[in-house]
């Protein structure tokens, strides 16, 4: 029996076949994959997972693709990134057990997007598409372009006009059609929703979205396995559309329902930048709905003013006793530097947001010393160099001379002054 039963509307419960649709035609609610958990439960086990490939595809049983064979998978190396137990950052923040889930080194495009794109393109090909597309703030476009190149699929990526240089180049190198739209991400997204209605393409975050979004669950699965089959007490997650946060919660609870982990009491915490914080602001004001905003922040990968999953992100945080907060652009830069200088991990701006909010939640007493805490670092700092270029100083420039070197560092001749 197939592991996918149907697509089901999260709002009204109407069921649909597992095709390339994402919206309920009755109430416009989002469609989500409904699995045959009874079947999955019969075969899934820790042992089976541990014997699987060294990638997120070790959780194949819980991902919405039909083919079981490896060669059908687009992006077979995505995921299973390091779970770094911090020493210095944990000590600095006063946390006994702080982990960094390090997707700055995800394969092949250095962000967590390789997870969702691997699922989306695999599913798109199963559904018979030969052209893939996306609306993106950069990381998603990079990943779609790379995977499409490897899979030999046609590709269109739509990006806002103000992206970081590395994220633009990180599309062009794979030679997709790169469409720069004069406007912000929300403009791009609306345009793409309209284009998706006219062309039979696989828009990974529109008509393929029910499948695509499921890829984020693998961050939760890996967390549990890498912590030694434990769920953390606290998860700190950056929010753009809010989808990642809701899927990490879903992944943790799926594992519990399937008997792979006990006692999931993880508090799901959300992080945004002040310049674009519709979800965190709604949380702070005690509302269950958000007001859209016009983004203005250096954390461009999180700059979604009209977050599709904002409502569900608020719900996930409330249900788990989590919290949300936001940080200024200056705090984003400080967060990036802190992570780099304590743990040697260079995150992009979204990572700065996560670290900044992590700090705030510790300070507020929401995250306690003994809480097992995981901070999700979703993208690589080399892609957003503009954000920190003025905050890291310059190299020390010297002549190629020993004397010049020693003088510059005020050292004596035989190493005196070295101490």
């Amino acid at each position: 029996m197939a592991k996918m039963k149907a697509l089901v509307c999260r709002e009204c419960g109407k069921e649909y076949p597992t095709t390339a649709i994402h919206v309920c035609e009755l109430c416009f609610g989002p469609l989500e994959v409904k699995y045959n958990y009874d079947e999955i439960k019969k075969t899934i086990s820790r042992k089976k997972i541990e014997a699987g490939p060294h990638s997120m595809w070790r959780y194949h049983d819980l991902l919405p693709v039909e083919g079981a064979v490896d060669h059908a998978i687009i992006g077979p190396h995505a995921g299973f990134t390091p779970m770094v137990r911090t020493k210095n950052l944990g000590a600095y923040l006063g946390l006994d057990e702080l982990y960094i889930k390090n997707d700055t080194v995800n394969h092949p495009t250095l962000s967590f997007k390789d997870r969702v794109v691997s699922v989306a393109l695999t599913r798109a090909r199963e559904l018979g598409f030969d052209t893939v597309a996306c609306a993106s703030t950069g990381n998603l476009a990079n990943s779609v372009a790379a995977h499409a190149a490897a899979a030999g699929m046609q590709c269109y990526v739509f990006i806002p006009g103000d992206l970081e240089a590395a994220k633009v180049l990180g599309n062009l190198i794979y030679r997709p059609n790169v469409v720069e739209v004069e406007g912000n991400y929300d403009d791009v997204n609306r345009l793409c929703s309209e284009i998706a209605g006219e062309h039979r393409w696989a828009f990974v975050n529109i008509n393929i979205r029910p499948y695509y979004a499921e890829g984020s669950k693998t961050l939760a699965f890996e967390t549990v396995e890498q912590l030694g089959w434990r769920a953390p007490d606290q998860a700190v997650i950056p929010m753009a559309s809010g989808s990642l946060l809701t899927k990490i919660k879903k992944g943790l609870h799926e594992m519990q329902a399937l008997g792979l982990v006990d006692n999931v009491r993880t508090k799901i915490n959300g992080a945004q930048a002040e310049g674009c914080s519709p979800i965190a602001t709604a949380y702070k004001e005690g509302r269950d709905f958000f007001r859209p905003v016009k983004p203005k922040t250096i954390a461009k990968s999180l700059a979604i003013g009209n977050p599709a999953d904002g409502y569900y992100a608020l719900k996930a945080t409330a249900e788990t006793g989590g919290a949300m907060d936001m940080v200024s652009d200056e705090e984003v830069v400080e967060g990036i530097k802190l992570l780099a200088q304590t743990e040697g991990i260079f995150a992009e701006t979204a990572g700065g947001v996560t670290i900044g909010v992590l700090q705030k939640l510790v300070k507020q007493g929401h995250i306690k010393k003994t809480d097992v805490t995981v901070a999700y670092i979703t993208g690589n700092g080399l892609k957003t160099q503009e954000a920190v270029v003025d905050a890291v100083g310059r190299p020390v420039r010297i002549q190629p001379s020993l004397v010049n070197f020693q003088q510059t560092f005020k050292m004596g001749k035989h190493g005196q002054g070295d101490a």
Partner: protein, 91 residues
């Protein structure tokens, strides 16, 4: 006349048309007019209380009406209105 772009899930109600022309001095009125021309449309866009559903976004000349006056946003001849499902996107 106002040009209204209809999203895929609503096209069964507009005989498959992706764009319809309609009169209306505000979004509220436009929705009522749409419903007269294409019965059932209002029930899809609005809940029982007549409020726009959570996952429906409406744009006038590319601007989200939540940045304008919501359902009271006024319309003039030649304006273009888009109805777009909110669920899309994710960086």
């Amino acid at each position: 006349m106002i040009k209204v772009r209809i999203p895929t899930p609503l096209r069964p109600l507009t005989k498959g048309q992706g764009e319809v022309e309609i009169v209306g001095a505000s979004i509220d009125e436009l929705i009522n007019q749409l419903d007269s021309a294409h019965p059932g449309l209002k029930g899809r866009l609005c809940d029982e209380k007549g409020e726009l559903r959570r996952f429906v976004n409406i744009y006038v000349n590319e601007e989200d009406i939540r940045f304008l006056q919501g359902k009271d946003t006024t319309l003039k001849d030649g304006d273009e209105v888009s109805i777009v499902p909110a669920i899309a996107g994710g960086r």
